[in-house]
Amino acid sequence: MEMTSIDLDVDILVIGGGVVGCAILRELARYDASIALLEQYPDVCEGTSKANSAIVHTGFDARPGTLEARLLAEARQLWPEVIARLHIPYLQTGALMVALNEQEQATIAREIVPKAAANGITLQPLSRAEILEAAPYVNERIVGGVLVEGEGVIDPFWTTRAYCEHALLNGAQLFLGERVNAIEVGPRRLRVHTENGRTFSAALVVNAAGLWADEVARLAGDHSFKLTPRKGEFLITEEDHGVAQIILPVPSEVSKGILVTPIVFGGVLLGPTAEDVSDKRDLATTTAGQQRIREGVGRLVPAMTTVSTVRQFAGLRAVSSTGDYIIRPSTVSERLLHVAGIRSTGLSASPAIGHYVGTLVGETLGLRLRTSYREALPEPLSEAAHEDGEVVCLCRSITRGEILAALRSTLPPQTLDGLKRRTGAMLGECQGNLCLPRLIALFQQELGRDPLSLEKHAPGSRLLVERLTHLGSVPAHRCERSKRGQ
């Protein structure tokens, strides 16, 4: 991340460090080419990739014939190897789509099953009794449903980070905190400028800026598509309440609906809502949204109506006017490739998107494969190695050893949320209020970070405003006064 303000010349530049951009970077790293990624936030996975249902969809309900359906099908083949090589936490839970009445049951038979078949997936019809046997926590009032065997849940942060680390291992460069604010299109090269005053030059630029991909396109003078945000709110529980499968409602026109799903690192995820909003930074959770989630999940798993939650959050889907993924060169230059409108399935399709785009770029630039490519990430440290040290995060029993391992990793966290997502610290009942000062101290000790500069997530989210000079410790006379006070 050190760079003076001189230009950096690379063959390929990726804009956006979400799951899509990082998956692409990983595939590009196979080629004998210089590559770099620019991300506006101080960490990867700070956009939509951090706030989603974390399901690896099979694509059984994708619109047949779309690029989305095709890439989801390809991704199904790729996942086992990706998970194994990058050591990504994944749980093959299967998904149960449950019908609450005969009408929904009919929709499954008439629409869902044939659509899945067209996507190459056989759904297994289940009777009410079979569902309740497999998932006793499901609403007893269901009339039947289907099992989607291949669905599972994954750690989206780990996935994004692992793609990126794998690319770094194979020579890619990463620039965090670099927000692209101007693009100059030349005949042979593009110049990409960032807010920090840096200029990058590349033979080809991949626009994987998620929800902002239309704005990045516009920087290059390309107004060919528009993305609008559709908010999805979620609730998270600490306990798993016996939920072992993804429980899906029969979907409606607008969304896959509000579901109940196990989380790969513990607890249950409830949501999401689907609400079109106007502000691309509007990640606020609302009373109305939370009520909608409670109603929705209550229909599937009644106990979830009142269950206590430890966290709420929202994500924004990038909805495009086309209704399909937009993966094509820009209207202004063959050298600017858009990968946009990856609305609700980007995590699931990411290995295939990476491969598809990698191949496309490789052909466009006539690249050769690198001879010394490392196929896998090194094995993560053993549990035992992580266990060393006293407990730092009390609620989750996360040790000092685990925190240090994250701070010393190839892609160390730059923010407190980054550390949270790498270790699970601060995710328990108290949400980090107890252990945060210890974490700040470890950041300082390991990475030399001045606590005053430490941010929670986005630029400008500093935790501390100033050093106290006059009140370093409590003056002794206060004890005297306090005695009288009582």
């Binding site: 609730l235 600490e238 930074r281 990640l283 606020a284 959770t285 009373t287 949204g289 939370q290 206590s308 939650t309 430890v310 966290r311 709420q312 959050f313 266990e387 060393d388 006293e390 407990v391 009390l394 989750r396 029993s397 040790t399 000092r400 328990g428 009942e429 108290c430 949400q431 980090g432 209020n433 107890l434 945060l436 000062p437 700040i440 101290a441 606590p451 941010e455 929670k456 997530h457 986005a458 400008g460 989210s461 935790l463 501390l464 405003v465 100033e466 050093r467 106290l468 009140l471 370093g472 410790s473 409590v474 206060r478 004890c479 006064r481 306090s482 005695k483 009288r484 006070g485 009582q486």
Partner: protein, 312 residues
């Protein structure tokens, strides 16, 4: 008798792991906050071979962060003058991460504890769970709005001040407990502009604004909070919110132990502080998160008298 300093213990004071489990203890106390210290104070050497462990590097629990502030004189004296009874082993920066109750094969209770040197087990005939709780964050109460920097609980704010940092410039302290108001005073002393607020249903201590917290606004740093005051929405511009609505019982580490909890997640005990498992007791905040300090002290005293082999 060894005097417990309020300053941190050094690592040299910590016994090595090997000597931790030479034989069984009569009593193992999880937590070294007020209720545990009161138990030790009352029980003294009569408790028998006793071990006390705590996650923190000092005794005194969460309360320590407010000492010696206005209004906490009694507690401060109790802690300052506390004497560790002879023979009691105090293990700081040592966290209980699991509890395996006694069974037919194993007549003593086993605590799985973790400290700097690693994970080990402690066996004791009686266990007193006095581990208190953690503060309720805004997330627990699902307060709607954004997730900016600048939202914290009193203990976090106090710890940051103690480390010599100002957590913000203008804070709203939401809550009217003694703890909340003492935190407000400390922040004001440190130079923050402080506004106190609490729901009308609170305990009636004087706060500047009476209202219910409705929304957290601003990103990436907090810019305002919205309160519903007398059916009117009031926006208060602040860069810091101290969410001070109380504690949650610290029972997360008891998952799977079989120790019964109340619907609210606290440990269920009878009038004699007995849990559902024979030989396992619980006192203090972990049985009643809304508790005041006097009650913690009283519970410690009472359980000392009740422990078999304890003083009567």
């Amino acid at each position: 008798m060894r005097k417990v300093q309020m300053s941190a213990y050094t690592l040299e004071d910590m016994p090595l792991m090997e000597d931790l489990h030479e034989g069984d203890y009569d009593v193992a106390i999880v937590g070294a906050g007020l209720s545990a210290l009161s138990l030790l104070h009352s029980g003294g050497t009569a408790l028998g071979r006793t071990v006390v462990l705590d996650y923190q590097e000092q005794v005194g629990g969460l309360l320590r962060y407010l000492l010696p502030a206005d209004g906490f004189g009694t507690e401060w004296e109790l802690l300052r003058d506390f004497q560790l009874p002879a023979g009691v082993r105090l293990l700081l920066q040592t966290t209980a991460v699991g509890l395996l109750p006694a069974n037919d094969a194993e007549p003593t209770h086993t605590l799985v504890v973790r400290q700097r040197q690693g994970t080990t087990q402690l066996r004791a005939r009686q266990v007193v769970i006095a581990c208190g709780g953690v503060e309720r964050p805004r997330e627990h109460d699902a307060i709607p709005g954004t997730r900016p920097a600048g939202v914290m609980t009193p203990v976090l704010a106090l710890q940051l001040l103690a480390q010599g940092y100002l957590p913000g410039r203008r804070a709203l302290v939401y809550g009217d407990s003694r703890y909340a108001l003492a935190t407000a005073r400390r922040l004001a002393e440190a130079g923050l502009e402080v506004i106190t607020a609490a729901p009308a249903s609170g305990n009636g201590r004087s706060v500047r604004l009476c209202g219910t917290l409705e929304e957290i606004c601003g990103f990436p740093r907090l810019t305002a909070v919205r309160l519903l005051c007398d059916q009117q929405s009031v926006e208060v511009e602040v860069d810091t919110l101290i969410y001070a609505t109380g504690l949650l019982a610290g029972t997360h580490w008891l998952k799977g132990s079989g120790v019964a909890l109340t619907a609210a997640g606290a440990i269920a005990v009878d009038a004699h502080y007995r849990t559902n498992i024979a030989g396992i007791y619980a006192i203090g905040t972990v049985v009643r998160p809304g508790l005041d300090h006097e009650d913690s002290v009283r519970m410690g005293k009472e359980v000392a008298a009740l422990l078999p082999g304890g003083v009567s």
